[in-house]
Every structure is written in structure tokens, then in C-alpha cells.
Amino acid sequence: MVGFWLGIDTATDIASVAAGRPPVAESGAHVQGARRHAAEIIRLVDFVLDRLSLRPRDLEGIVVGDGPGSFTGLRIGWSAAKGLAHEAGLDIRTIPSLMAAAAGASLRLGTDPVAACFDALRGQVYGAMYAFHPDRVDSLVEPAVLTPAEFVRVAPVRPRLVVGGGGPGFADQMTDWAGAPPVPLDSLPPAATMLLALLGRPGVGRTLDDPAIAEPVYGRPAEAQAQWEARHGRPFPDSSGRAG
């Protein structure tokens, strides 16, 4: 990576934006509070680019947090990324937001496994586990929606650390599992910074056939869709519309 890239992550309560020449983030900013994301996201982009005297057209591409996470939050980051990329003709890459969160902790832990969790409500978390190596990232548990107990059960190893949050009882379960309390996301480097750090490592991102029509990994179907599928015992039909 020789050119400048913009990183955007809005999968959690923290919206973060960073810019730089990967793997280095040379400028970054974030806000906390999901209700502020839509209002602040372009201002954050403007702030981090302005500090580097860049405009969107000067960028080589945008790397955006792929989720899973807050449905609305993800769409805010993705809408911003699509709009910027569409107008300025930029490449879009995606990296799981859980990987970005875990990578923040790995800076001090080396190659030890790190589990990342975002609260998915209903007693579940969006969870994944990674081991970070200088030349690659091993996905020990791919991003999934599951209860903390299920996460413990499917993980092939005990993590050195858990980052993120969950519902009631989550902290105690994770402390029992990892031997230390989970590290809250606001104690870690912003996810957008870590997206830039991860960009370029083999196998960390999802290849988008057509970024314009791509969607984030929501982690769950819409509730109405899930109910429909449960009632009908088959996948929901395609949701394309009629153009006029």
C-alpha cells in the first residue's frame, strides 16, 4: 500500500475514522454515542483528511468495518463509504469490525488469541476470535451471533483476553473464561485505526464483487425476515424491487 486510505468503522457505539498510508494511521478521530454517528461521520472524515491536507479524490481507497454489529450503525458507515467512493471513484475494502477490535488488543499481546464481542442483545453477542501474526491473521472463530456460553463452547482455545461487551452476566462469564475481565472498546485503539493496520494482510478482508450493491455482514436477518423464514421453513425470497 503506497497511497492514502481512509478507514471507517461504525459497528458499535464508537464511530471512528482514520486516514493514512496502511498500515500506519496518520490521522484519526472518533465520537461515542450511536445517536451522534450520522450527524458526525462526514465531519470526522473532513477532520482526519484535513489534518493530512487531503481531499477524498487524493485517496486510493476506503476500508470499512464489515460488521457484524449495530444494523443502523453499520449502514451509516457504509453509506458514507459508498457515497465517498462513488463520487471519487475509490476502491472499497472491508474487514470484520470484530477483527479490528481484537487487533487493538493484540498490539500488546503478540500472537496470543484474542476474543472480541459486541452486544447483540437477547442474551447473545456477535463474537469472533483471532490470533494476529506479523504476516497473517488466523480466524479461530469466525464472526457469529451466539450466547457467551456457546462462544466458550465453540472456541478451540482459551483466549488470552476478551475485548468488547455483552449483556447481563457477560463480564463474569468472560472473566471466568479468559482469567481477566473483558476490556471495554473505549480502552482500545479506535477500530478505524486498526482497519488501516490490518489492510493488506492476506485473508483479512471480504472481496466485494460490486461495492455499489454490497451490504455489510449484519450478523442477523431482520426480525420480520427471521419470523417469515421460521414460519415457511425456507429462505426469504430475493428483495429486489421494480424500477420506474
Binding site: A222, A224, G241
Partner: protein
């Protein structure tokens, strides 16, 4: 002032983009694409989360198609107008953030537009000579508004619905009748086959003021459906009686407002104004007697669409208004320029 405005609308279940080009006071519609999300038919109504997801997946391609239809490249776009609200907040957010990113990346002006002001401006896209003063009846799935419009940008609320919007009542009654979603077109298709004398439904609040109420009418239809021993036989008659009742209430109040204000023009807007039955009744009660000219846009511009957003945005940009990068979606966005109606009209206060 901008010469080319890109409009974006994502307030509900239509993903739409439009391009307006031209001189300051008479812009022309150069491109309009409306992608109607079919996914909601399965559920008998709009599912907000699915609508939001569909907007994100569709919006770039819809914008590209509108620009291609207009024969215009990105570099020619001077400003972006986007629906800020009211509407489904998750759906609005996709359009607002995307529009902000487009405007920011291209150093373009940005203006957030009120969805119902967009409906108000829709007839102006096709009829550039339309000018206030007039009375506007805006009826959609989410709103029923009767406005006195003394000038563009100045709106006096005469009345609004106290419960269901007219379009919402059409959708709910269509469900009761087993006609599917969206309800308005389904009822309008069936109603002509019905005998208008077989059922008679109340005209709620028709003879008082400018406020609307449709929930009681919906309940009356529910009772009639439950007491029917042959719904297959009665369905067209029920559809006819319901449609007649709603349209009679709407046009009676519009006529009352025209008489009270003395204006000579009535504007119909919103998705329910796609109804030829509504436009036909308005013409018979207002135009044929010489009381007022009725201005109504073509159905494509009365449904939720980005051309009306671009046109209202064009107007606001012409006033020197701009939105900044902190523009946010608001499900309950108040109509700009709303002022109290004269008490002599006996209207509701905003």
C-alpha cells in the same frame, strides 16, 4: 445558484434519485428513477429494517441510472438535495449520509428537504406556472395535511389527521378486505365494480372544521366485514363505500378551505393523490363549478420520488439556504415555514 441538482429520496420504501437542470426559476426534470421495494408486499406493510437494507444496496445504482437518464456526469452536479424527514429514520439515514458523502467528496452544496414540502412542490415540476396562493391537500401513508399556502415557503396548517393518515386507512382496509399491500391502488382498482348504495359508511368529521379522523371509518369497515356472510360478493361494494367515504371527507374539507380562504387554486399531493378517483372528485366539486383550479402532478410525481425533493431543494437553495455536514435524519422533522393559520378560518394551530 445551482444549475444541476441531484435529488435523493429514501424516506420509506422507494429508493429514488432525480436530476433537475436549467435556469433558476424553471428547472426541468432530466432524469428520475424510482425503485419500489417489492419485499414489503409479503408482510402487508413496510418493514423498516428491510427498507433500510434495501436502500443501502440500491442507492448507488439508482443515482447512476438517474444521471445516465439525464445524460449528465458527476462533474456537472452542483448540489445534492436529500429527504431529511419525516419518515422511517433508518431509511432516511441511508439517504442523508450517502448524500452528505456525495456532496462532501465533490465540493457540492447540500440541502436537507422536508418530505411533505417535497410533495407540495411535486406539481411544480410539471407545471412551472403553478404559484401560491393556494390550498394544498397532502395525503399519503403517513400524513394527511390541509395547508393554506400564501407563498412558497409559508405554510398555515388548517388541519391534520387526529389518528390514521388517509393512506394508512387505505392500507389497513385493504388488509381487512384481503387485497394486499399497498392498499390504495388495490381498492381503487376494485371500487368501480362496487355498488355505491350497498353499504354506507360514516364520513368522520366531514361537516366540522379541517381536522381529519379515519380510525372510526376503519372500524366501521371491520364491523361490516365481520358481519358479511359472503365477503367475496361484498368485497367490491365495501371497497367502493370506503373509498367514497374517504374521498368525500377529503374533498369536502378542501372545498371548505377554498371557500374560506378565497384562493382560486387547490393542490393535491402525496401518494393518495395518485388516485384518479380523488382527482376526479376534486375536479367535479371544485373545477367544474368554477370554484378553483385543481393542480395535481402525474402519479409518478405524487408517489414518493426524488424529483419533488430536488424541486423543493432547488427552491431552498435559491433562498440561499444550505445544510452543513452535521445534517441528520429526523423522523419527526417539523415542516419549515409553518405559521399559525388565521383564527378567522377556524383552523388548527401547529
Amino acid at each position: 445558484m445551482a444549475d444541476v441538482v441531484l435529488g435523493i429520496e429514501t424516506s420509506c420504501d422507494e429508493t429514488s434519485a432525480a436530476v433537475l437542470v436549467g435556469e433558476r426559476r424553471r428547472p426541468e426534470l432530466a432524469g428520475l428513477v424510482i425503485l419500489s421495494q417489492d419485499v414489503h408486499r409479503v408482510f402487508g406493510g413496510v418493514v423498516p429494517e428491510l427498507a433500510s437494507r434495501a436502500h443501502l444496496a440500491a442507492l448507488p445504482a439508482v443515482v447512476d441510472r438517474a444521471l445516465a437518464e439525464a445524460g449528465i456526469g458527476w462533474s456537472a452536479v452542483d448540489a445534492v438535495a436529500v429527504t431529511q424527514g419525516p419518515g422511517l429514520v433508518g431509511a432516511l439515514l441511508v439517504g442523508v449520509v450517502y448524500a452528505k458523502a456525495l456532496a462532501y467528496a465533490g465540493d457540492r452544496e447540500l440541502i436537507g428537504v422536508h418530505h411533505m414540502e417535497g410533495h407540495l412542490f411535486a406539481p411544480l415540476v410539471e407545471d412551472p406556472d403553478l404559484a401560491p396562493p393556494f390550498v394544498a391537500l397532502l395525503v399519503s401513508g403517513g400524513h394527511t395535511l390541509l395547508l393554506d399556502v400564501p407563498a412558497w415557503g409559508r405554510y398555515r396548517l388548517l388541519g391534520a389527521t387526529r389518528d390514521d393518515a388517509a393512506g394508512e386507512a387505505f392500507d389497513k382496509v385493504a388488509t381487512l378486505l384481503g387485497l394486499g399491500y399497498p392498499g390504495g391502488p388495490a381498492i381503487e382498482r376494485l371500487a368501480p365494480q362496487g355498488d355505491p348504495t350497498r353499504f354506507s359508511f360514516p364520513r368522520p368529521m366531514r361537516d366540522e372544521g379541517y381536522e381529519f379522523s379515519f380510525s372510526g371509518l376503519k372500524t366501521a369497515v371491520l364491523r361490516a366485514v365481520r358481519s358479511s356472510d359472503d365477503l367475496e360478493r361484498d368485497r367490491p361494494h365495501l371497497a367502493r363505500a370506503f373509498q367514497d367515504a374517504v374521498l368525500d371527507v377529503l374533498i369536502t374539507k378542501l372545498e371548505r378551505a377554498i371557500r374560506a380562504t378565497g384562493h382560486r387554486t387547490a393542490v393535491l399531493g402525496g401518494g393518495v393523490a395518485c388516485s384518479r378517483a380523488l382527482a376526479g372528485l376534486a375536479a367535479r366539486r371544485l373545477s367544474d363549478g368554477g370554484l378553483a383550479r385543481v393542480a395535481v402532478a402525474s402519479p409518478r410525481l405524487n408517489a414518493d420520488n426524488a424529483a419533488m425533493i430536488a424541486r423543493a431543494g432547488w427552491y431552498r437553495l435559491g433562498l440561499g439556504e444550505r445544510s452543513d455536514w452535521t445534517l441528520d435524519a429526523r423522523a419527526d422533522l417539523p415542516l419549515p415555514g409553518l405559521e399559525p393559520a388565521p383564527t378567522t378560518l377556524g383552523a388548527a394551530h401547529p
